[in-house]
């Protein structure tokens, strides 16, 4: 059995490897981020009407996040299957919970960068105004939602990664499961943005929901990722 320090070492190695692959290939920067920005611009074209954008901006930010996340997850497991690397890790007896932790960590970093871009785009394109406290709440919301999305995304990415038709299977499996994150993150972001007259204090219970979701899927993923990729 691997010790905690061995697991930590492997998780860090996997996360560093995934981020190095992104650094080498620039897929997030050159393809996913522009895609996310284009989605936000298209929302602006479709809903450009008497302040609607300011009211629905939080939901649009999180919808764009989910769509972009699907692309990032597909990519992170495509690099594993291109030359049988995930199989090689499994064959080598590398602790699956450490692989899960490392891949989730790398996904968190990429998603957080993407979400910052989307919030920035909402501020610029949709005319969103935030107080300092609202900005702090938005940051906490991003962090809490990112942990949950990364854990559930890694779990379902691993599940769909070995399946036939994985490109279409992943959205079908993943989007219903992340509905609680979409709801919680949207409500918390509404409070942070002050959309529709909501107060900043109304966002904190939703952030607690996001944290609960994150803890549940971190725990489930650590246990279930190994058997799922073994199948």
């Amino acid at each position: 059995m691997s010790t905690v320090s061995q697991r930590r070492r492997v998780a860090v190695a996997v996360a560093r490897k995934d981020l190095t692959i992104e650094w080498n290939s620039r897929i997030l920067v050159n393809q996913v981020a522009p895609f996310a920005a284009i989605v936000m611009v298209l929302f602006a074209f479709a809903l450009d009407n008497d302040g609607i954008l300011q009211r629905v901006a939080p939901g649009l930010v999180w919808l764009a996040t989910l769509f972009s996340m699907l692309v990032v997850i597909q990519r992170t497991f495509a690099v594993e299957s291109a030359d049988g690397a995930l199989d090689a890790l499994r064959v080598a007896g590398v602790d699956p919970s450490a692989i899960f932790a490392g891949k989730s960590l790398a996904l968190m970093v990429q998603l957080f960068a993407l979400e910052l871009l989307l919030v920035g785009t909402a501020v610029v394109l949709y005319g969103v105004n935030m107080t300092l406290v609202g900005f702090a709440e938005a940051l906490v919301t991003l962090l809490a939602a990112t942990v949950g999305l990364a854990c559930v995304g890694t779990l379902y990415g691993g599940l769909a990664g070995g399946a036939r038709g994985r490109e279409t299977l992943l959205p079908l499996l993943l989007l219903p499961v992340v509905a609680p994150v979409l709801i919680g993150a949207t409500r918390a972001t509404e409070a942070a943005f002050g959309s529709g007259g909501t107060k900043v204090s109304e966002g904190w219970p939703w952030i607690v929901l996001l944290l609960v979701f994150a803890v549940i899927f971190a725990a489930v993923g650590s246990v279930a990722f190994g058997p799922l990729v073994d199948e």
Binding site: Q6, R16, T20, N24, V79, A85, V91, A92
Partner: protein
């Protein structure tokens, strides 16, 4: 001589198909054992059982003294299986790939440098992305990762596939070097003449049994 693989009457099932039907096999440290036989004979299944990937249904077996029936995960960490794919990250350079595998076992930079030198993927090649390598260079990179993983038994499925004549000669020389350095090699190959000249012993696998 130290026995590193010992299988007694091992039966393994692939779905509902009996892939191995009572295999008896003993391999000593430092051997290069060739498994030969027709397609579907059970060569790959035998390699996967030795790698701790396929459970055994009946019989007994130990790999490096570890019980196959109860402790397959520990076996996986001490053997290296190289199948039809190389297990490389195509967007990472040769050095980054090997460094990654080194990180998973805590191997030092010196070990990485030695493995790259042994498999001749150092120098200019070190900075080339795996996706831009030839088939032979990818194979050598994958073998270097087996070295840094400190695999004691190398299980190679059709290692000569995709290599040109020069690449095959080079691979044979590298495997002999690895054995000289303490590894044991079990390889399955269709190319009987070439592989037989490399092997110290040959076992024929057919109908799920080994002779």
């Amino acid at each position: 001589m130290e026995t590193v693989i010992e299988l007694n009457g091992v039966v393994a099932v692939l779905g509902s198909f009996p892939a191995l039907a009572g295999v008896n096999l003993t391999v000593q440290r430092g051997e290069i054992l060739l498994l030969q036989g027709p397609n579907g004979a059970g060569k790959t299944s035998l390699l996967r059982v030795c790698a701790g990937l396929m459970p055994i249904e009946r019989g007994t077996g130990t790999i490096l003294g570890i019980d196959l029936a109860t402790n397959r995960q520990d076996i996986r960490t001490r053997v290296g299986l190289l199948g039809h794919t190389n297990g490389l990250y195509l967007d990472l350079s040769v050095e980054q790939n090997i460094q990654f595998w080194a990180s998973t076992v805590g191997a030092s930079k010196d070990e990485v440098a030695n493995a790259m030198r042994t498999m001749r993927v150092d120098g200019r090649l070190a900075k080339v992305k795996a996706g831009q390598l030839s088939a032979g260079q990818r194979r050598r990179t994958a073998l270097a990762s087996l070295i840094v993983r400190r695999a004691e038994i190398w299980l190679l499925d059709e290692p000569h596939a995709g290599l040109d004549a020069a690449g095959r000669d080079e691979l044979d020389a590298l495997l002999r070097n690895a054995v000289a350095a303490g590894a044991t090699v079990v390889l399955a190959s269709h190319e009987s003449e070439r592989a037989a000249s490399l092997a110290t012993r040959t076992v024929t696998v057919d109908g799920g049994g080994a002779q």
